[in-house]
Symmetry: C2
Subunit: 341 residues, 2 copies
Amino acid sequence: MRLAIDVMGGDQGPQAIIAGSARAAVEHPHLELILFGPHQQIAAELSRLPQPLAAATSRLVVRDAPDSVASSATAAWALRNGQATSMGHMLRSVAQGEAVAGVSAGSTAALVALARREVGMIEGISRPAISTAIPARRGSRCYLLDLGANVDSPAHRLVDFALMGAAMAQCVDGTVQPRVALLNVGAEATKGSASVREADRLLRQRAGRDAFVYHGYAEGGDVFKGQLDVVVCDGFVGNAVLKASEGLTSMLVERVQMAFESRLSGRLASLLAKPVLKRLKQELDPVRYNGASLLGLRGIVVKSHGGAHADGFYYAIHRALQEVEHDLPARIAGRWQASSL
Amino acid sequence: MRLAIDVMGGDQGPQAIIAGSARAAVEHPHLELILFGPHQQIAAELSRLPQPLAAATSRLVVRDAPDSVASSATAAWALRNGQATSMGHMLRSVAQGEAVAGVSAGSTAALVALARREVGMIEGISRPAISTAIPARRGSRCYLLDLGANVDSPAHRLVDFALMGAAMAQCVDGTVQPRVALLNVGAEATKGSASVREADRLLRQRAGRDAFVYHGYAEGGDVFKGQLDVVVCDGFVGNAVLKASEGLTSMLVERVQMAFESRLSGRLASLLAKPVLKRLKQELDPVRYNGASLLGLRGIVVKSHGGAHADGFYYAIHRALQEVEHDLPARIAGRWQASSL
């Protein structure tokens, strides 16, 4: 089994991505990873890998791609210039069936635009949606989508998000009847934008036709309550909620740390508080630790957080492997066919 | 100086609101509070006030208003039936100049709709915006608006939010040159919805005409970084961000507590962790502890969090008094006049 990896575009440079890839290779003995990027740079990083990661280098195949997509690249730039980049090569490897899935930490806008063109969309779905699992109460998780691939989403696209999110929760996590809700400013039927109210009407009409339970409207805080499996919103809203949550989590962890340090002696604080806080921060940083899935494509593409270190990139690969195991694109395509009958 | 208080509509019932009002009366010896609601119920609560709150009852004036607005009331319901409610009476007291400001913990949708009709808008502003101060890094705060009074805000309304937010940071907090940003899905000029990009263009055109610094785009996480004084967005987005932040904060505080309790003995945990966590939770719960301002009205109206206990309602009154002290509506009206010249 082969995965395609774009080694460029992450904030931590190729080193973190290559180390994360090596960890995946060590843990999955039948996995081969094709590393797309500047040959010499990758070779140099590979030669520096410590044991036990170095033992996996034979299954890390270098494929020279000297050009790369800047982390600030726009969709328009990528569509004009992206073909020859490491990201473009990685996506074609997925499109041509050489690799079963692809992972990149590069520009989200570029990745969405290029993936749509190179990998193509499932029939009936016009644009990819981005989703990640947000950690919620009682150890549960809630898929939030879209996270920024689509702004100003019309009602029918919000319905697509609901179907794709439910398919993911069902196939990948084995949730038999995912609980799906539509993000709104309140639970009342008269509230919200026209597209959200229309999407609500469309989802109610579908009741019984889909293998998920539509719960109606949810508010921002419901994402974390552990009572929903999928929360659907326009990409502008989802992006704002996700990034606010990341920013708030890091501020809160910092404040908790400061509060304890001011009350406890330095030694006691480091013994008691630091390990707890470190684990907490990791658990709660959703994209950094899970990767975000591009849904609606004919192939599997996962976006790692741009700021991910080796472990974060490893988790994005892990996410891609889960989607491969459950053949997610085929399952989503099957839903669309069934739904259009 | 008189304030008008709607004692109905809060999740904790009139008791919390009356206790919060009594605390404000105790702390401000020249303040009189007019309590609008069912006479007998208020009188019963007043007679049960403990000392030192009971000492202020002579400055808590009961004004009978038997009808009330349900916490789930819609704007349409309020416009049809709201006139005779405690909320309607409270707003008319502000509109007629009997009270210098009004506070309610009732339905936001009803309060916005009724306040617009009863108190009226500043010339040039079509609808109220809701804003609250979000706690950010280094003890700073960031005003986020709109929080849900407006969905699908066109560009000119986002510009209004920027001007009102800046006026509030300047007048109430004394920030000489507030740093104002527009929430978007990324910092690049090509990203975002059409209305956000148009608002960005309009705000850049105004450069130098306003007494604030326009910083361009911000992402969701920037609200908490302590480098911005005002972040502007559509009410749907702001509502989702605010409610997600509330939900995340309470989940995080719970998790930190559980993490410490599992590592520390019960006694040590309660001694060390609980007081720190309690203070933290209070500091970080913005609306519950600060109240949210309705901006753009001819008078001062503050919305207390529906779930606020007595202290939370007291802080909402405190917020109203700060706006009275700086004559916020007149300052905003002045900006609009200057701006339309």
